[in-house]
């Protein structure tokens, strides 16, 4: 294999949006004003579970300045429910509310103050129903059903002879671990402007998947796809919270009612009642031989999807896919269940089901290793799945050398030579390790269009939403590389369904791999056209032409690409168009198997525990990232460190607290997200470029791996420091102190 020399790929180029974002010029949905726009405020349910007996909006409608009030009575001549897998979410509550904060009515008014005043005039009569809080109450058959039942989804798979394996192995361990409800905290809460017009619907919205929103709105309101335009300006952070469709149907229905554009910008409080991560409980039975060989794992899991399905189906499945871990297992049985409760609906969140699954898997691996008297690191290495082997039957084999990756992290961390060193009285230090593989990539379907202009510059059209991850820069790098022109000559137009060709979504670490491939192919399509034109120009064969720095050359002579284009059109103007289609049947042959790739995650942590207070301080954290090929190394590190930093939240602080169905901490004062002072003193990403991803140049996604190993690595380190195993997150000082106290450690 020859090593290709790249011009911009592999370089930490300046982001294409850097100047706009640093100067404040970058436009987010909240910056947009549409002529005649009305302002929306919501009437939300104060009760977590209730029948709606009546809604009287007459006084609100009579208030001067109010254009419309939307209730379920207005949902006529349209579909009323939406959702990605199960269409169980009403555009606005119909007959019943299923979580505190569910929109019951929506007001459109001349300004926010009038809308807020009108909200107070809407009278809603409820009949309270018993509340279902948490997994245990959802499983209790005597609980009130949130929907037809409290089971949203069931998933499972099995291979080998699990029961025989458990009978024949030397020892069996069974442990249960809990993961809390957490909120994404994208700095920009959900914001949407909808304009319902006779011949079209226009939306400006903070969405990750513009084309899925387009399809959902078209279906709900009986329009053709070409009649629905969804524009996604810069998004102020997504992390899955803006996946699929959120507030867009409500705002569109209200715009239809008001006869004018309507804007709704949620507060943090309201965003926390729009979507969250699934709380989870997982139990693993592991059968081992005395030599440390794992012969069987049986995983049972529950995820709490809240009041509506949202992404509960896929999360239930990924939780199950990921729970057995990256181990060579001859016998596996997995059952997972998604459950409804009266709480904020749970949807996508960076590595869906991943942090929950790896928390359970990797906490238990340490429990078993300790019981067998084996070093946790060696126990993992002994049981790892090898490169090219299937980690899940019938799925894509593992495409990287996990043992090498584990040893790299251990070496860089200094695992083998670590000692606690002197500590103050009552302070203990320890180290912990975790690893996991997550099936990423979503469906391999993207398209791209590239226009090559008559002056040698190019415009790249992509459906990917730019939510901070830097997709526009990476796509510009790929296009520049394949068009053989400088990076600065590329402009990227993104996420406007009327301007850019179709893309499935921006999530699951998929854009660099899949949209990147579409851009790559579209650029090559143009390069081929340029080579054909140059061949004609030089009276040579296309294969004989060299293309570099915006020029085609043959036997010492060269011509600018721009001149070739102008000559083709016989004048001063003209342009070439290139297209890239990515489907499961892509010519590379790399997209036929599911998943598109496995994202590898490894974490090593050193912690300090103040046994007097229970405070856990993360001193050092090492993470691995294998982007296959780092198209922009700085952005790869940013993704990995950002994901790990976000995980510090659910590991140490973050938890949405519910009492009787009421969210107790719906603000950033009481809901504690990580801040810069929480950064470990040493926080390193170990970059491996294995070159074997299905994306351009062997690239694959890295947006999520960093989030999954922090919690188990830290809890394993706390165990290493104190000898106390904590099975519930987050590891707040009080929870850790109570665990130490019970174990007689304080």
């Amino acid at each position: 294999m020859t090593t290709r020399e790249f011009k911009t790929v592999g370089t930490a180029v300046r982001r294409v949006d850097a100047d706009d974002k640093l100067s404040g010029r970058a436009q987010f949905t909240g910056d947009i004003e549409v002529s005649g726009m009305a302002f929306c405020r919501l009437v939300t349910s104060p009760l977590p579970h209730a029948r709606i007996m009546s809604i009287d909006a007459s006084r609100a409608r009579a208030l001067p300045g109010v254009y419309a009030v939307l209730t379920s009575a207005e949902l006529v001549n349209m579909e009323t429910h939406y959702g990605s897998d199960k269409k169980d979410r009403p555009v606005i509550a119909i007959d019943k509310v299923r979580f505190q904060g569910e929109p019951v009515a929506a007001v459109a008014a001349v300004d926010l103050a009038t809308a807020e005043a009108a909200v107070e005039l809407v009278e809603v009569e409820y009949e309270e129903l018993p509340t279902v809080t948490g997994i245990d109450e959802a499983l209790d058959p005597s609980s009130e059903p949130v929907h037809e039942s409290n089971f949203c989804h069931e998933y499972g798979y099995e291979w080998g002879d699990v029961d025989s394996a458990f009978r024949e192995c030397d020892r069996v361990f069974e442990d249960t671990f809990e993961f809390p409800m957490v909120y994404h905290y994208a700095m920009e809460p959900h914001t949407c402007i909808a304009s319902y017009e006779p011949d079209r619907i226009r939306l400006w919205t903070s969405a990750q998947h513009p084309f899925l929103v387009q399809a959902e709105i078209a279906r709900l309101f009986g329009r053709q796809l070409d009649q629905v335009q969804v524009v996604v300006p810069f998004v102020g952070g997504g992390y899955g919270s803006k996946s699929y469709t959120k507030i867009e149907p409500l705002v569109t229905a209200l715009s239809r009612e008001a006869g004018r554009p309507v804007r709704l910008a949620l507060s943090v409080d309201e965003a926390m009642r729009t979507v969250r991560r699934h709380a989870a409980r997982g139990t693993i039975r592991t059968g081992v031989m005395n030599d440390g060989t794992i012969v069987a794992r049986e995983c049972t899991g529950y995820v709490d999807t809240g009041g509506y399905t949202d992404n509960g189906v896929r999360v239930t499945e990924r939780f199950g896919d990921r729970m057995p871990g990256p181990y060579a297992l001859a016998n596996v049985r997995v059952k997972t269940y998604g459950l409804f409760t009266n709480s904020t609906p749970a949807g996508s969140f960076r590595s869906i089901g991943g942090p929950q699954a790896i928390w359970v898997c990797e906490s238990q691996i340490d429990v078993v290793a300790h019981a067998l008297g084996m070093a946790p690191f060696e126990f993992r290495v002994k049981n790892l799945v090898r490169e090219g082997e299937e980690v899940r039957r019938g799925r894509r084999p593992i495409e990287g050398d996990l043992e090498y990756a584990l040893r790299r992290v251990a070496d860089e961390f200094g695992w083998d030579s670590w000692t606690s060193g002197p500590t103050p009285p009552g302070v203990k230090r320890g180290i912990g390790f975790a690893c996991g593989v997550t099936n990423s990539g979503a469906s391999p379907t993207s398209t791209s269009l590239v226009r090559f202009h008559a002056d040698g510059s190019a415009t790249v059209y992509i459906g990917s939403a730019e939510m901070g991850q830097g997709s526009r820069s990476v796509m510009a790098q790929i296009a520049a590389e394949e068009l053989r022109i400088p990076y600065e000559k590329i402009r990227v137009v993104a996420s406007d369904t009327s301007a850019v060709p179709w893309d499935r979504s921006t999530g699951s670490s998929r854009s660099t791999t899949l949209m990147g491939l579409a851009v790559h192919d579209a650029a090559i399509d143009i390069r081929q056209q340029l080579l054909d034109l140059a061949a004609e120009h030089f009276e040579a064969f296309p294969e004989e032409i060299e293309a570099e720095d915006g020029r085609a050359s043959f036997k010492g002579e060269s011509v600018a690409f721009a001149a070739l284009v102008r000559n083709m059109f016989g004048g001063s103007g003209g342009e070439l168009m290139g297209r890239g289609y990515v489907t499961p049947k892509h010519a590379s042959g790399k997209l036929r198997q599911d998943p598109v790739f496995w994202e590898v995650s490894i974490g090593a942590a050193e912690v300090e525990v103040d046994t007097a207070t229970g405070e856990v301080r993360l001193l050092r954290y090492y993470s691995i990232s294998d982007p296959g090929k780092a198209i922009n190394p700085k952005q790869v590190e940013g993704q990995d460190e950002g994901a790990a930093m976000q995980a510090i939240g659910h590991t140490l602080f973050e938890e949405m607290l519910y009492e009787d169905g009421q969210l107790l901490n719906p603000n950033l004062v009481d809901y504690r997200v990580p801040i810069f002072t929480d950064l470990p003193h040493e926080f390193e990403t170990v970059l491996i470029e294995s070159g074997n991803g299905p994306g351009p140049y062997g690239a694959k996604g890295v947006g999520e791996g960093g989030i999954v190993c922090v919690a188990p690595a830290v809890a394993n380190a706390v165990f290493n420091a104190t000898g106390v195993r904590i099975s519930t997150l987050p590891l707040t000082p009080e929870r850790v102190w109570r665990a130490l106290h019970e174990a007689g450690q304080t």
Partner: protein, 292 residues
């Protein structure tokens, strides 16, 4: 947030009259870091906010005898960085540096923090050991109260509906006082705050002031613990004399800790014991005199 009128008085008297005229429909507004959050979330609603920042001179920080007088619209940052405060009340400067975050400190005021009476306040606890006093003005004149007489409960004070706090008077510690403040918690507001000021003469604790905050609705002095400390030899305390544990035990007994998102009662009582010992040892370790 519901719209409100912003009244901008230029004198204290004008502010007091505006408060009286509004009959409960108005609130005083300085930094707004607590008030506006509560109004945005709909917990509080006022027709009128009276901006005390428009009263000239109310942000002054000046010496008056042994005390430093801090005007009601002086921000946490202004207090933290003021040369007089740094020189004469270094512990106050240190504690102000740790209040919330830079954005809050740059607009939030010390007096506003006291008047909002949120139970998790660093300065409210610390000022008890300084034995600070407050100047309060109303339509019928002004009065002076001890800082400990201001807060009566969560978000409740003894101020009349037409009164406003105009200044915080903080006397410097006597020479030889060793003082320290500890806070603990992972939320943005502290879970616990403990302040200790020990006057040491000839190696013996001549006087002790201890205050505990955040674990219950109102910060308090711990007189039983103070009594135990008086007369104790500091070298014995530093070596972990039983008096240290007795002081901590009494402190946790007198804490009246309440359960909330910051923790259960037993955990908070435990934290009081841990941090009372830690705070006393830190204070005693400061043998250079003054409160730094």
């Amino acid at each position: 947030m519901r719209p409100f009128r912003l009244h901008e008085p230029t004198t204290v008297q004008e502010a007091a009259s505006a408060l009286a005229d509004a009959g409960g429909g108005a609130a005083l507004y300085a930094g707004g870091t607590e008030l506006l959050l509560a109004m945005k979330s709909g917990l509080l609603a006022y027709d009128t906010l009276i901006n005390v920042k428009s009263i000239s001179g109310l942000d002054a920080i000046a010496a008056d005898g042994n005390s430093i007088v801090i005007g009601a619209s002086a921000t946490h940052s202004a207090v933290e960085h003021d040369p007089l405060v740094r020189d004469r009340l270094p512990l106050l400067s240190e504690v102000e540096h740790g209040v919330a975050n830079l954005r809050v400190r740059n607009v939030g005021t010390l007096a506003g923090n006291l008047c909002f009476a949120e139970p998790h306040s660093d300065p409210a606890t610390l000022l008890l050991v300084y034995e600070a006093e407050l100047d309060v003005a109303g339509p019928s004149g002004s009065r002076r109260i001890a800082v400990g007489d201001l807060q009566t409960g969560s978000y409740e004070t003894s101020l009349g509906p037409d009164e406003l706090l105009t200044a915080v008077r903080v006397p410097a510690f006597q020479a030889g006082v060793r003082a320290a403040y500890s806070k603990f918690g992972y939320h943005h507001r502290p879970t616990l705050g403990i302040a200790a000021a020990l006057a040491v003469e000839d190696g013996v604790v001549a006087d002790a002031r201890l205050a505990l905050g955040c674990v219950s609705p109102v910060a308090r002095r711990l007189s039983r613990s103070e009594d135990v400390l008086r007369g104790e030899r500091i070298d014995a305390l530093t070596e972990g004399a039983s008096a240290l544990r007795e002081v901590s035990r009494l402190a946790s007994e007198d804490a009246d800790a309440v359960e909330d998102m910051h923790g259960g009662v037993d955990y908070k009582e435990h934290l009081v014991r841990v941090f009372m010992e830690r705070t006393l040892l830190r204070a005693l370790a400061k043998n250079g005199g003054g409160d730094a």
